[in-house]
Symmetry: C2
Subunit: 532 residues, 2 copies
Amino acid sequence: MIAASIGGVGESVGYDEVVSTNEAINTDRIRNEAFRSKVVSADEAAALIHDGASIGFSGFVGAGYPKAIPDSLAKHAAAAHERGEHFQVNVYTGASTDHALDGILAESEAIAFRTPFSTDGSLRKQINNGSVRYIDTHLSHLAQQVEEGFFDHLDFAVIEVSGIDEDGHLIPSTSLGNNKTWLEQADKVILEVNEWQPEQLNGIHDVYYSVDVPPHRKPIPLVGATDRIGVPYLEVDLDKVVAVVETGGGDRNTKFTPLDEVSKAIGDNVVKFFKQEEEAGRLPKGKLLPLQSGIGNVANAVLAGLETGGYKGLECFSEVIQDGMLGLIKSGTVEVASATALSLSPDVIDEFRENIDFYNKHIILRPQEISNNPELIRRIGVVAMNGMLEADIYGNVNSTHVMGTKMMNGIGGSGDFARNGYISIFLSPSVAKNGDISAIVPFVSHVDHTEHDTQVIVTEYGFADLRGKTPRERAQALIAIAHPSYRAQLQDYFDRANAQPNAGQTPHILPEALSWHQRFLDTGSMLQGEAE
Amino acid sequence: MIAASIGGVGESVGYDEVVSTNEAINTDRIRNEAFRSKVVSADEAAALIHDGASIGFSGFVGAGYPKAIPDSLAKHAAAAHERGEHFQVNVYTGASTDHALDGILAESEAIAFRTPFSTDGSLRKQINNGSVRYIDTHLSHLAQQVEEGFFDHLDFAVIEVSGIDEDGHLIPSTSLGNNKTWLEQADKVILEVNEWQPEQLNGIHDVYYSVDVPPHRKPIPLVGATDRIGVPYLEVDLDKVVAVVETGGGDRNTKFTPLDEVSKAIGDNVVKFFKQEEEAGRLPKGKLLPLQSGIGNVANAVLAGLETGGYKGLECFSEVIQDGMLGLIKSGTVEVASATALSLSPDVIDEFRENIDFYNKHIILRPQEISNNPELIRRIGVVAMNGMLEADIYGNVNSTHVMGTKMMNGIGGSGDFARNGYISIFLSPSVAKNGDISAIVPFVSHVDHTEHDTQVIVTEYGFADLRGKTPRERAQALIAIAHPSYRAQLQDYFDRANAQPNAGQTPHILPEALSWHQRFLDTGSMLQGEAE
């Protein structure tokens, strides 16, 4: 079954392989002789990658990205550029990586194309000036669409693992992301074996190998967040492995800032919503349904709210396990957290490593085609909680484009969860930029989640439950949770739109609809009469 | 299993039941004595329905809606209004029905609330002036969300069936829609037994009874469009049945206009796209993948294109079987068509009825929670083809709101298929209103399908394959298939947006973004310099 879906086996003989000269190979981490024979330096491995190559890298939200090849590749690119040669590659990942991958390659002008998600500042500039071709893709779509041939064929997979066992199975690192698919689809494979990653990661992963593409798909047999349906390792065709590189660097995730009052209030409002749902019998009492929580401080605040809300034994079915989750597992608030990445900041990494045997019992890492799978998200009834840039008064949500044009990061997995979840919740502080940007606007400048897919919107001022509400009723619910300094302005827009003859199902004044964003660009504030 | 999910059994005793006085009951159609004892007139049955009632009606795109109760209910409402009394009901259906349901009730001002989809002109006016509360809902979402308590509790289910067998099983009519869920969820049930519907419909349906709601869901065992996974009948709790009404009227679907050149060209362009995909190995040669095709003349033209394109033995996994499908089944182009409704116009209804035993072997009707199910659509790799009102140059699609404010019909199932399909295709003539409205605009006035979910856009001028294209590249591909009279205007907008400093990932000139729609409202045309 697996062999059939690994492509290009017959063509893999005769690659230029770099013969290892390394005498001190870590035989605990590379237990298979055939793989040991392929150990080379990062520079030697990176030199195998040609201009124009399409590369599937490991890495998901700062976890499990390769630590050495990107740096060597950036140096190769810079050297080529100094010689006046063209050298750029196409970068496919799980999601965001780290400055050490996206940033370093971008700064060497070594990226021609990037998908599906990135948060790096240097790369963002190149995306927004059009010098890097960027496609913002649902995280659940990329693996299948590469396999289906909707993107370029992958020349290389560059994958961090924590070890290689006697049988040649790869013990994954802190993220799985699209690694399974990259290993299958790429012509050549470069492995980074990172001895910094704890050996006890062995067993935490669950890699399901029977996803396939239509018309050969079968039901995925997962019926709960706690289910294990696969194997704890990745497979790779040895003939495709052109280099193995030993590394030792740690994941370098961003530190979290301490929870501020606004984030805490948002977390509390989410819990208030949950209590309402439990009272109404729409969520199982005290148990809820499997939770998906996005990334960052607000998401961490929501998790903290669950603990103070007195919950025990919850299940999470999410993309990323971040700092806040460890405390919740320790306290028993969360029984099992399923995700595709374990993305811990330096603040808690020691806590995890010291108690890894405990945490391993409560954490499952899956490929993102499983963690973000619409079949599973709909089946198990995930409660989706994601951040947003802005929502309009009718509940359309912008997650990606600042003022409608500038890419912030990308849609990530928010659409995977919002579209097929049991309840989809979007969260944001009511204002940004010291109050100059309102998170509730008349008309969003870009739509990533339509009114059909947004059910609850939460700010520090409360939650707007949009279910069962018409557009006009949604407007009133959303204006009520806008920042007080914007409520009159929003109400004025809505009232005038609604008072027009033939106002329609969704009243708007088209010439004014995007004027808040233009006002911000012109004056530095969305507030009327401010700085004008 | 079924009994457990039918609610309110213990509370169903003691309803006011109307005792039948009808002496000439059709015992061929109502074979169960207990049901025969509940036969009453439509007026008597409608009189059971109270002001403010929430009613789940059968009916999906002009097929299988109740023929008698809506008319009687409208008369009751009109009489109540004449007496100065309030009388309005909340109308839940499968999708659109017919003037005989939505239109008649709307004209009697008897509808307070409507979901999930409607095409009736009289009702549209009331939706757009705000006098009817309308919630535009994904068709795959409504059944589960009613069951989950996100909408009002249903007081009544009013369901057309073609018969009732000896065991009290209901032989469904020409659509299944949400009937299974309405029968389970409603407190009281009124059945219309329509003897106009052919008896041979018995066996065409496949009703799957194990969908459940989270956290109790299991995989749905369907792996191909031809699979049957349920039973051919609907179940109902006899104690909840408060009336059975005999009717005889036919479904009254709109006649199709003959295929025009524009529709034919769109159909041909879809086939050209399929041939490209087959050549590239992205669709199985000559077989494609299960097709979903929307509603109306363009959809019919696409089906006709498949026949002239020489395909044989195709499978369809769709919502609605319309006129064009019968010819394709007859010619062998389509082997099996799976849908939730058999919505035939008077032109072909005789053909179907005369050859029903043949067609029954090639048609499967399922509940819409199965026909539109994201799990199944992703699994079997449905190729989704849906109409649209407009797309913008970056591939965002508006399916619902004319000029951003007026509800046309609703999103229907387009999002169910586009979001989870193998390939999502949107179709439209390049212009409407004799050229005064362009289907390609700088910025859509409402978004129902985001850039992340639209992969191919087709007009009579060609197909724009958006896969693997950045926003800037998408703009060029889409301008190329716009109507020639709008191409220069679109190119000018894009060029100026793109030339701005800090143009971003998705260049726009915000004050101009919605100006095409405002120009149409002001001058009657989106063309610059026309009628201005």
